[in-house]
Each structure stands twice: as structure tokens, then as C-alpha cells.
């Protein structure tokens, strides 16, 4: 065997192992979601079993339907994402471009909020929401979600916006576009990849958030993650239903991910190489 072929083979083997590590929990979850509760608990685990969609039927349309929770998740995540992007893009543009006093310290503060462990914020957030009467409400959840999604989005968008050559903006200013139209017609079209990536990450973070959702929401606003948690109880854990709910909850994220796969990979390497993250 030539060295080349050997190398390819080894790479393939290595990649397979890594992929297996990544794919195993998801495959396991998928299989579990198709089993009966009895099959789930069988030992040794059954690899050959009669698949059933009963769990999906149950979690979607049964007594403990997660459809309202999916809706709650969608509302919280959707509005959080939209508000975040509407605020983060102009803020990031200002941080990337304008000579503002305190820009540096402001930029650091934006990042510093990301360094706090969320659990340390739970109690203050709880008290604040309680005081304004926003506990277990959409507006309360969205407000809290904005506290972590905004800094993250701003920080990510700044690096994209800094990659747009300043001269291009100056050309637009000389062409009488003015600041707003320069941003809309010249700058934003060039960072649309960055906007896509940021939107997806913000959506992901909000969609998968559990800690705040379970403490600050829970009854009227119960996101799908919290609802899934309820399949685990003291007496029993409904593994198959939990798995089915998880598969359903994963779907929007996976669809978004597939739509923007190209952008995500580029987004992850932003800043690694000068101009490497552009478009």
C-alpha cells in the first residue's frame, strides 16, 4: 500500500472515531425515542427492536403535549433573537467604527458580562423580576435572555464589522449616502454572513437555555427544555418520551444549522486570519 493511501486510511479511521463520539449520543437518543419504555430499560440494550412512533404521538398530542412549550420556546427565542440583532448590529457598528470616549472599556464590559457564571446571577435576576412583577412572563424571560445574548452578539458582530474596509464606508459617505444608508446599503450587505452566523448562535443559546428558564419561568412560560425536564420525576423517568421530545426540540436548531452551515464554519474562524471571516 502506498504511503498516500495509508495516510488517507488512517485519517478516515481517525475521523470515524471522532464522528462516532459526536454522533453516538444523538443516534442513541434517536433510537431511544423509537423504543417502548420497556425496550429502553432492557438489559443488555436491544439493538434490534420494533420501532414505534408512539412516543412522538404522546409528546405531541398526548396529555403531556410539548406543543405549547415549543410555542413558548419559539416566542422567547424568536423575540430574543430579533431584538438582539436589531440592537447588536448598530451597537457593534458603533464600537467597530466610531471614535467614542470609553469605547475600549465599554468593549471590555460587554465581554466581561460573558465571564460571570449564570448561576451567580439567578438570585438577583429573580429578585428584580419579582419586584417588577415579570416572573414567569414572556417579557421577563426575554429581558433576561437579552442580558446574555446581546453582549455575545455585539462581540461577534464587532469582529465582522471591523473586517469591512474603512475606505469603502468613506467612499459611500462621499457618494452622499449618509451614515444610515451607508450602513444599510454598503456595510450590512458585506457582513450578511456574519449576521447569519450571529443570528444562529443567538437563537441556539436562547433555545437551549435551561437554568434561567426553569427558575425564572416554569408555569405560564414553560420552554420546551423545562417541559422535557418534567419527564424526569421522583418515581420514574420516561426515557423514551424524553428522547422523543428532545428529538423534536432539536429539529429547529438542526434545520437552521443546515441552512447556514457554510456561514457557521467561517464564523468560527473569524479573526483567526486577517479578513478570514469575511462574507
Amino acid at each position: 500500500m502506498s504511503r498516500r493511501a495509508l495516510r488517507a486510511l488512517l485519517l478516515l479511521a481517525g475521523a470515524s472515531v471522532l464522528l462516532a463520539v459526536w454522533a453516538f449520543p444523538i443516534l442513541w437518543g434517536l433510537l431511544t425515542s423509537l423504543k417502548t419504555e420497556r425496550d429502553v430499560l432492557a438489559y443488555p440494550p436491544k439493538l434490534i427492536f420494533e420501532p414505534t412512533l408512539a412516543n412522538y404521538r404522546e409528546v405531541l398530542f398526548g396529555s403531556a403535549s410539548i406543543l405549547p412549550n415549543l410555542w413558548s420556546s419559539l416566542v422567547v427565542t424568536g423575540i430574543t433573537t430579533i431584538l438582539t440583532m436589531l440592537l447588536a448590529v448598530p451597537a457593534a457598528y458603533a464600537l467597530a467604527r466610531l471614535d467614542l470616549p470609553g469605547k475600549r472599556s465599554g468593549g471590555f464590559y460587554v465581554l466581561a458580562t460573558q465571564m460571570l457564571p449564570p448561576v451567580g446571577l439567578i438570585i438577583p435576576y429573580f429578585l428584580v423580576l419579582q419586584r417588577v412583577g415579570w416572573l414567569d412572563t414572556y417579557q421577563g424571560m426575554i429581558a433576561i435572555y437579552l442580558t446574555f445574548s446581546l453582549p455575545f452578539a455585539i462581540w461577534l458582530m464587532v469582529s465582522y464589522l471591523e473586517d469591512v474596509p474603512r475606505e469603502m464606508e468613506e467612499a459611500a459617505l462621499l457618494d452622499r449616502a449618509g451614515r444610515i444608508r451607508t450602513l444599510l446599503y454598503v456595510i450590512l450587505p458585506q457582513v450578511r454572513g456574519g449576521i447569519a452566523v450571529t443570528t444562529i448562535f443567538v437563537f441556539l443559546n436562547a433555545w437551549n437555555e435551561f437554568l434561567f428558564a426553569v427558575v425564572l419561568g416554569g408555569n405560564r412560560v414553560r420552554t420546551v427544555n423545562v417541559a422535557m425536564f418534567n419527564f424526569i420525576s421522583v418515581e420514574q423517568t420516561l426515557w423514551a418520551r424524553l428522547a422523543a421530545a428532545a428529538m423534536i426540540a432539536m429539529a429547529p436548531v438542526i434545520i437552521l444549522g443546515l441552512l447556514a452551515q457554510r456561514h457557521i464554519v467561517k464564523g468560527l474562524t473569524v479573526g483567526a486570519v486577517k479578513g478570514g471571516g469575511r462574507r
Partner: protein, 350 residues
């Protein structure tokens, strides 16, 4: 000559933190003039252009265009168009949309935009590329696209920041000529930043030479070439630039090493000077400055003889037929009228 596009800069000072980029620049540019801002990098020429465009604010001084003080006017309101060194084309738009952009921003009617875009594109010969995006154009075509975008709205001032520096040598020479013709046909005041003295000499009606944040000389290419105002200018203009040798004058006599030249005019008390001699003004002869040939560069129609005279290197441009060999001892002759003299200390022309 056009009636608009008169520029006046008064006492422009620009500081970046502790660094002063411009120490009080005064400049007047006449309508329709092709004016070059020439200087080495970091001399303040681009900063001056950007202040004129309104992209940067001066710390002190005023900018006037056509008699109106535009110092505090936004760049978009100054009616100036600029071609950037990087061209700064909008990569997500087609060539057509790039050229149309400045017209769309002022709400020009669609039909008027279309004819203006086609006319501008035809002027710079990219009318067959209108559907492409900047990324699909060659460097020269991108440059033309940037030019078209600048001329399409018929500005009163046309600013060019090193527009040719990203082109290869041959294209640069061609574009230089075309740029000059284009400017003539548009009859619009043009301010052109370059670090290439040859470019400025060939293209400009007049030029200002920048050194370390100051204008050291303003004049036509001929004036600057014939009478450089300082040693710095002398060492910058010409290809190759002037030879600069240490010398000493006393009354009407100039001493370069042991060699003595009669100047034919009395320059007063004895002092140290720098002697400037154009390579093309030198010739080998029976008398003159003794020198030894180090190297001969063949330039096609001429030769450049590089020799050593005392401590100094002297370049002499001679006919290609002249027969010299490396290591020859020669004597370099020149007319007293070809001598440029500069004060040793200040560098000022005597």
C-alpha cells in the same frame, strides 16, 4: 478652463495624538488644474487630501472650495469625488450598480442614471463589463470602475489617492496618459496624491512637495525640476535624483574636495554647502572632478555610470555609445550653470 473647483487650504494643522501629521499647510489650487500632492510616505499628502475631502477634520486651519468655507461641511455635501488607493468598490454590487450608486443616493431619475452610467463607463472603456461584480474584474478594470463611479456625478473636485499604485508597471504608464486625457476632457479640478515623482512630473500641471508634514515647494514640474527649493526636494525629484556632494564656497569659488570651480557670481563669506548636480548634466572630459567608475547600468538608450568621487557617489547619465569600463579613472565635467547650491545646515537653496 472651468470656473468651479477652486481650492484654498489655510494653515491646516493635523495632530494624531502626540504626533503632528501636518504643521500648517497652505495651498491654493486653481479651477481645472491637475494638481499633484507629492511626497514620500508619511509626509502628510494623503492626510491633506482626506481633509480636503472631509474624511478627516483638521485641528486648525480652514478649507475653502470656490470661496465657501467647507471646513465643517460633511464629506457628502462637499461635491467632491474620490478614487481610493484600494478603489473601495462595493463588492456586493455589479459594476453598473457601483457606478449608479452616487446618483441613486441623490435621487436621480432612473432614465438619467442609466444614460449617465453608460456614458461614464464608456469614457473609461468598461461599458462591456457592467453586469460583472468587482471581484470578477482585473486590477485595471477595477480601477476604471472606481474612476467611473467618481466621474459619473460630475463633481467639482476630483480627488485621487495613489490611484495607479496597485497596477503593474506597463498598465500604470498607459493609465497615466488616459487619466490625463480624461481630466482634460472633463475639465474638472483634480488633486492627485502620489509618492512617485515621475508620475507627478508627467501628469500634473502643478505640484506641492510634502516633507514631514510641511509643503516645501509648490510649482510646475519644470520649476521644481529646474530649481528645487531644498536639498530634500533635490534628492527626491528626477530619476535618478540629483547627485548631492559636500562642498565649500568662498566668494565666487566652489570647492568639491580638491577640485575647484569658478561660479561666476559672488556668494559671500566662506561656508559649507551641499552641491547638487543632475546626472544628465554631467559628462566625462579632460578636466573636472576626478572619479573612479564603480558600476555601469545599461538603461537601453542611455547608460548610468556610477562612480566614486572622494567620499561621494556620483551618478552620470551618458549616451549608450560612450565607452566606459568598470574601474576606469575619469574626470567629471559640468557647466557652472548646472550647479545647484544648498546651505549645508538648513538645506535651503542658495
Amino acid at each position: 478652463m472651468s470656473a468651479v473647483g477652486r481650492v484654498k487650504l489655510q494653515g491646516i494643522v493635523k495632530r494624531h495624538g502626540n504626533v503632528t501629521a501636518l504643521h500648517g499647510v497652505d495651498l491654493e489650487i486653481a479651477p481645472g488644474e491637475f494638481f499633484a500632492l507629492l511626497g514620500p510616505s508619511g509626509s502628510g499628502k494623503t492626510t491633506t487630501l482626506r481633509i480636503l475631502a472631509g474624511l478627516e477634520n483638521a485641528n486648525e486651519g480652514r478649507v475653502h472650495v470656490d470661496g465657501a468655507d467647507v471646513t465643517d461641511v460633511e464629506p457628502g455635501e462637499r461635491d467632491v469625488a474620490m478614487v481610493f488607493q484600494s478603489y473601495a468598490l462595493y463588492p456586493h454590487m455589479t459594476v453598473y450598480d457601483n457606478i449608479a450608486f452616487p446618483l441613486r443616493m441623490v435621487g436621480t431619475a432612473k432614465s438619467a442614471i442609466d444614460s449617465a452610467v453608460r456614458e461614464a463607463a464608456a469614457k473609461v472603456r468598461i461599458d462591456h463589463l457592467l453586469a460583472r461584480r468587482p471581484g470578477q474584474l482585473s486590477g485595471g478594470q477595477q480601477q476604471r470602475c472606481a474612476l467611473a463611479r467618481a466621474i459619473v456625478r460630475k463633481p467639482r473636485l476630483f480627488l485621487l489617492d495613489e490611484p495607479l499604485s496597485n497596477l503593474d508597471a506597463k498598465l500604470r504608464l498607459e493609465t497615466r496618459v488616459e487619466l490625463r486625457k480624461l481630466q482634460r476632457s472633463l475639465d474638472v479640478t483634480t488633486v492627485y496624491v502620489t509618492h512617485d515623482q515621475e508620475e507627478a512630473m508627467t501628469i500634473a500641471d502643478r505640484m506641492a512637495i510634502f516633507m514631514e508634514g510641511r509643503i516645501v515647494q509648490v510649482g510646475t514640474p519644470d520649476e521644481v525640476y529646474a530649481r528645487p527649493a531644498s536639498v530634500d526636494v533635490a534628492g527626491f525629484i528626477g530619476n535618478p535624483p540629483m547627485n548631492l556632494l559636500p562642498g565649500r564656497i568662498a566668494a565666487d569659488r566652489l570647492h568639491i574636495g580638491d577640485h575647484m570651480v569658478a561660479l561666476g557670481r559672488d556668494l559671500g563669506a566662506e561656508r559649507e554647502v551641499t552641491v547638487g548636480l543632475r546626472p544628465a548634466a554631467l559628462r566625462a572630459g579632460p578636466t573636472g572632478l576626478p572619479a573612479k567608475i564603480d558600476l555601469i547600468e545599461h538603461l537601453g538608450d542611455t547608460k548610468l555610470v556610477i562612480c566614486r568621487a572622494g567620499e561621494s557617489m556620483v551618478k552620470m547619465r551618458v549616451d549608450k555609445a560612450a565607452s566606459f569600463r568598470d574601474g576606469d579613472d575619469i574626470r567629471i565635467g559640468f557647466d557652472p550653470g548646472e550647479i545647484h547650491l544648498f546651505e549645508r545646515q538648513s538645506g535651503r537653496r542658495l
